[in-house]
Every structure is written in structure tokens, then in C-alpha cells.
Amino acid sequence: MKFSFKILSAVLLLSVLILRCKEDDAQIFRAYVEGKISYSDAKFLEDPIHLVKEKKIIAETLPKESGSFVLAGPYDKGTYRLQLKNYKIKSFSTDTKGCKISADSLSIEIPGGETYVIFNDIVLK
């Protein structure tokens, strides 16, 4: 009797644990953006650079003295932006198709689905 109780409790314990390990349902990504920014004003280094999706920040960093930066953050789908705070962007170069400077020149728009983007040379105004 005591033994069957033990087996029963073991089965219950295992089934509870099975229920706890569900599979992920949707594919999630980490968007990875790397680049280098040519700047003249040293104050540029004081402001953080962001990856932003629909006004929600997904990654943040401060640029290095060389102007280079790496940003990675959780991402699912849709366009997102590389966002600077105060300095406007004049030009950039990348192999990723469809990237463009936003209307206010403060960010570069990255099309949805592009999760690995390298901006070789971002020049500020």
C-alpha cells in the first residue's frame, strides 16, 4: 500500500514537471548592429546610442573613442532604428539593402527581418 502510494506520487511529480517544460512558440531574435561613426565634436561620446523599435528601446551603448559601437537586443519583427540623440547623420554605408536616414536625420531606419547589420562609416553633419 505504502509502495503504490510512492509510485503514484512519483508519477504525479513527473507529470507536473513535464507540463512545466513547454516549447517556445514564436521565433525570437537578437538584432545585432555594429558600426563606426566619424565625429568631430568630442561631446558626441557622452550621449548613448540606441536601437529603437516603435519608441521602445531594445539596446543601448556609449560609442567608443574610436567612434565604433556594438549593439544587440531582443527583437521579433518589423522595422527598427539606430537612433542618435543630438547629432544628425549626413551619410552611411552598409551592405544591407533598404536602410535609410529618417526625416529628422537623427536615425537610420532598418527594414524588418534584417538582424545583422554593419554600418561601415556613419558621417555626422
Partner: protein, 206 residues
């Protein structure tokens, strides 16, 4: 994952059939249960974001073992981990230090070394759920999945009756989540890790 569930199910069936078949030999006398609250410390090895972004994880939890036949048994452990630090936030995202829920399941084999000491070898499967709060308070980012685990434990018996034991364990856990990226190297960097953990537990047998 399906294979794993099937395996577990057949293990349970086997247990039941075996129990009925072998009853007259009274093998169930050998069936012993134990429960052990534990503390753990865990760090990632190799080239992956778990290693680069976090210092180490520390956690606490509880485990249970069933010695089923001879020196073989099944066990399960739950551990709640916290990361001590986010060292490279630019690689992690706009997220705070995560917490992690981890289940380990395993088969074990026990070897008695002396009257007081025993060694256990473990092989099993782990599941992980890592939860990191968005720094703008817009909820949590969840990631994680599962992977194999293997390990060994040293068991020291404290009393003559063998009810109370102290267990020191070490385990290697393979972490595989499914974080996508266009660049396979980056995908691997964010999806795969190897964890090494050490645990200290107080075990009670009944």
C-alpha cells in the same frame, strides 16, 4: 523534445509494469526516496553571450531522488537562479539582470565508496527559462529552452541510520535556446552555452 517526453513516458510505464511483475521478489524494499534542498553557483564556459555578459549565476532550489532498482534511480531538481551582474549591457539589450528557472531531470547511478561516502553519476535533460526585465518597465523578455546535463555528486552520510546526508555536486549543462540571427555565428553566440555548476545540498532520506 517529443522524443524526450516519449522517453519519460516509457520510463514511467516501465516502472509500473516492473512493479507488478516483480512484486513477489519484494524488490521495492530497495526503493528509497530522498529530498534535498540545495544552493548552487553557475558560470558559463566558452565563447557565448552567457559568458561575456554575466559574471555568474547563484541560485537555490529543491530536488528529489527515487532509487528504483539496485543502484539506479531517477531524479529531478528545480533551481531558481539570479545573475549577479550584467557586464556588457550592449550585447544583452536594454534589459536588467535576469532570473532563471531551471529544471534538471536525470538518471543516476550510485557507487558506495565507504560506509560514509558514496558517489553518484548523473545523466539527464535540463530546461531553462530566463526572464529579464526591460529597463523601461514594459515587462519581461523571456528566452531559453533545454539541453543535456551530466554530472557527479559526492554523498556524505551524517548519521548511523543513514537518514541525513550532505551532498556536494558538480554538473555540466548544455544550454540551447532559439535566438535567431541572420549571421549563423551571432546566432550561435546568443543561442548556445555550456554551464558549469556546483551545488551543496542537505539530503533527507525516507
Amino acid at each position: 523534445m517529443k522524443k524526450f517526453l516519449l522517453f519519460t513516458f516509457s520510463a514511467i510505464c516501465f516502472l509500473n509494469i516492473d512493479a507488478q511483475k516483480r512484486k513477489r521478489y519484494n524488490w521495492q524494499e530497495e526503493v528509497k526516496f530522498s529530498i534535498d534542498p540545495h544552493v548552487k553557483i553557475m558560470a558559463a564556459l566558452g565563447d557565448n553571450f552567457m559568458k561575456d555578459v554575466f559574471g555568474y549565476f547563484y541560485g537555490f532550489g529543491i530536488g528529489g531522488n527515487i532509487n528504483i532498482y539496485k543502484n539506479f534511480g531517477l531524479g529531478a531538481e528545480y533551481t531558481y537562479f539570479l545573475a549577479n551582474d550584467v557586464k556588457k549591457p550592449e550585447l544583452f539589450g536594454y534589459l536588467g539582470a535576469p532570473s532563471m528557472s531551471n529544471f534538471d531531470w536525470y538518471l543516476f547511478h550510485k557507487d558506495a565508496i565507504s560506509e560514509a561516502f558514496a558517489v553518484e553519476e548523473l545523466l539527464g535533460y535540463s530546461t531553462y527559462r530566463m526572464k529579464s526585465p526591460y529597463l523601461d518597465n514594459s515587462g519581461n523578455f523571456k528566452e531559453g529552452n533545454g539541453g543535456l546535463n551530466l554530472g557527479a555528486r559526492i554523498v556524505y552520510t551524517l548519521d548511523n541510520e543513514g537518514y541525513q546526508q550532505v551532498v556536494f555536486g558538480t554538473k555540466i549543462n548544455f544550454y540551447n535556446s532559439r535566438i535567431g540571427n541572420q549571421n549563423p555565428e551571432i546566432e550561435k553566440y546568443f543561442s548556445k552555452a555550456v554551464f558549469l555548476n556546483f551545488s551543496l545540498a542537505y539530503r533527507y532520506n525516507f
